[in-house]
Amino acid sequence: MNVHRPLSPHLQVYRLPLTGLISITHRLTGILLSVALVLLVYVLWIITQGQDAYVALQTTLQLWWIKVVGIGMLYALCLHLCHGIRHVLWDRGHSFAKQTLWRYACYELAASVLLTGLTLMALNQDWL
């Protein structure tokens, strides 16, 4: 029995409103972060491989484009987190009205940028 039921086109067809765009970005960041988990395991493995491997890893991490990707991953995490909080708010029944939806979407985007900036600053200033 062939159970292949093709999916009707969606993302490639509709021009999504802001809330829809954020929603699919939330999913995308989730997938990206899940893939990045493999990298994290690799980093921990390097730590068990001794000083030389660790220093080599650190040198690689100083490359400018690696730093850019790193900041991008941090932003992905903050975006995912902020939208996740909005999901929990929705679960409690808040902010479903059309106007509040748009307003909270803007709050959320601002919050994610703020959170990323704050984290980077905290890392720079050794607050953590």
Partner: protein, 128 residues
């Protein structure tokens, strides 16, 4: 309009459907990840700029490696639940359930690897 309080949901644990349990665990792990993410960020900050001895010292402190392990457990569970939904939404082929189990298996392997690595780091004399 307020949604039904989740308190009543938690008292009826045994009659919850699989999908409701999935939904609930997704929220529980998400909220837990908010504080637990500190240990991820701190580890990445150390790997980025701290000397090997400092990173090792931080990891060898039981509270840090334990909470990092807890973070990994929570994130793998959260990612497994999330990836399941992604596959269920976009993959309409017969092999879908196998794919979902494959992804969950991979995440479990990552969790196992991290546990073994942390165990080795904590019990080792690296950088002594």
């Amino acid at each position: 309009m307020k949604a039904v309080a989740s308190r009543s949901l938690l008292t009826q644990w045994r009659v919850l459907s699989h999908s409701t349990q999935h939904w609930l665990w997704q929220r529980i792990t998400a909220v837990l990840l908010i504080p637990l993410s500190y240990w991820l960020i701190k580890l990445l900050a150390l790997v980025f700029s701290a000397p090997y001895s400092a990173t090792l010292a931080w990891l060898k402190a039981p509270v840090n490696s334990l909470l990092l392990a807890l973070w990994m457990l929570t994130v793998c569970y959260h990612a497994a639940l999330g990836m399941q939904v992604v596959f269920e939404d976009y993959m309409a082929l017969p092999g879908r359930r196998v794919m979902i189990w494959a992804v969950k298996g991979l995440l479990f392997l990552l969790l196992l690897t991290v546990s073994v690595l942390l165990w080795r780091i904590v019990g080792s004399s690296y950088g002594a």
